[in-house]
Assembly symmetry: D3
Homo-oligomer: 133 residues x 6
């Protein structure tokens, strides 16, 4: 965030994160306390700028934020990324996507990724949704 | 398709395939001419019944057919399934999803699956969309 | 399980699960307590019907139940599905597959999936087999 | 193959390849004509020694050669390795595994790896089996 | 490339591509002729800016450009991305990495990704290296 | 380790492990206490001989031990092998690779494997590096 150029992309990313119900991004050195602090900050900045500023927050986008969340969840289920899936399922609920929609989306994916990936995702969804009750 | 029970699931599947712009399912022994014919037919029946009857065609579904196609495409991009991706991108166009929406969806996925998977998917999308012009 | 058609596939699945030493399938809403209860039940029904009724329990099958378990384990090792692997290794022991056969099968896979996937699977197998002593 | 030690493992591997219907291993520099010749030979030697000598040809093995082929095929289907799958399906036929058994094994895997991986494998199996008729 | 901010990242990326022996990036609409032209250009810009400007071209980097190429190749071999692997192997040769180093790196990976992924990568390397002779 | 032939490869492997800062390999039956003891020992022997003797310890190698570690880490990040990644990151530190180099290597990979795989790897790196302080 050393100059104005980066600042503009970062601001758009942080605003998009707020709009979709994600927690505000803290400093990278707090998220990754063991890493060299400047590199940890760089990663966090990259994440905010590229994922949320340039990707989720694209100008003139042809798909809406709800579709973006479901696409993200489909990618995480397909790759078996359990840690990230937990976070994005929570974000989806914050964003107003219903437990029925999330569960139905994962059930749909079973045909395309197989039962093991699907059942693991449903176990995680059960924990995330259950923790909100 | 030996009895009425299987017939009901198969009919629902074939109707759903028609509704989403997929070609009508032919006999498995024509699709897989080298396989033992009865087993080839079984596979095709399983595909129609399970993927299209039980999954895409679920009663009281909480997500619509356009969302189901985008989820399917996200799973195929994430797994690098190039043959199947080609077919589902064509189906998506038949279903009325625009080239802009498909391209935007794959661009979104780059952040989650990396550039190599994303660029390969965009090359296939370019061929599929280009062939319709 | 709303009608007789689904009941027949479910019964075959439950019978196959018993035959291969898997625990009896309980209601989905108990397995996935955080999910919408009707959807959780649907998933469990799909699992029993499709995986165990239509797949493991296929009529006139050309491969036996022991081979089916080993194929399943190979798929789980290759995909790195640790949660599901644990369950299927336990099921294999219940089914009468020996610790020597299971270990040898995973050792075989090392050449095809690499040491990291193989060693992780052997660590899980060590825990599952060790817990039976 | 610079010394007697390597020779013993290589001989066992080549004998195992013959026993399971694989073609005899030629020199690596013929298989990989663009690579530095000594390195190409090293790779081929590694393959014969490790995969076929130490793995398929293990002394006192607890699983038979037919099971080893099916496990190998399951790993290839699960990872989507199309080039290698083609070779191992041909080898399986040479080894006396029937088209019915191979097809049934891949159908089994659909539940665990999803339809896209399964259908792609069945298309390849259809080509390999069909080419033998 | 609508404003000066994007221009700076793009210029750095294009300069890095030149430095590592990659071809100059043309317009996205030429690379992806079937896609909506503005979106195709966006993707190409993203690629130049993020992969080559922000990643390969990071200021104050702790690893050199040769290491970055080998890391990239390792990621492509591990994921089985054949199209991209072909391009990056050619780029590595342009960059001055020797055929011996590339072959040795892929041989190293066999232990970690298994023989099928390793042999496929060596077949591609044989074609790329052979075509330069 | 029943004969002199195996002993030579094992010794080379154990020496290489020492040279790169890995802990000395104990008996397989201690690492995998639940497995049949002879098979557990076989696996450990295979690991030492093939990964460290034949692979890391190759005579006349064209790449150095630091490059081999980074390639290994790239393969583990790409495949999402969290257990093994933890061990190899610790080994890399023992070998003299700096926290800055490790972090930078994983940041590089984000472009090629996506943010979810990259961020998970950075979380593990943060724990491993942090535990050494």
């Amino acid at each position: 965030m050393a100059n104005d150029q980066q600042g503009a992309r970062y601001e758009r990313g942080a605003a998009t994160m707020k709009a979709i119900g994600n927690p505000a991004p803290g400093p990278g050195r707090e998220r990754f306390p063991g890493l060299p602090p400047e590199l940890a900050d760089d990663v966090q900045q990259k994440l905010v700028e590229f994922c949320f500023g340039d990707t989720w927050g694209r100008e003139g986008s042809h798909i809406d934020l709800k579709t973006r969340r479901l696409l993200t969840i489909a990618a995480l289920v397909s790759q078996g990324k359990e840690r990230q899936l937990r976070g994005h399922l929570g974000g989806a609920l914050n964003q107003g996507i219903t437990p029925e929609e999330l569960t139905e989306a994962i059930i749909h994916l079973i045909a395309y990724v197989g039962f093991p990936s699907g059942l693991t995702a449903l176990e995680i969804a059960s924990e995330v949704i259950g923790s909100r009750k």
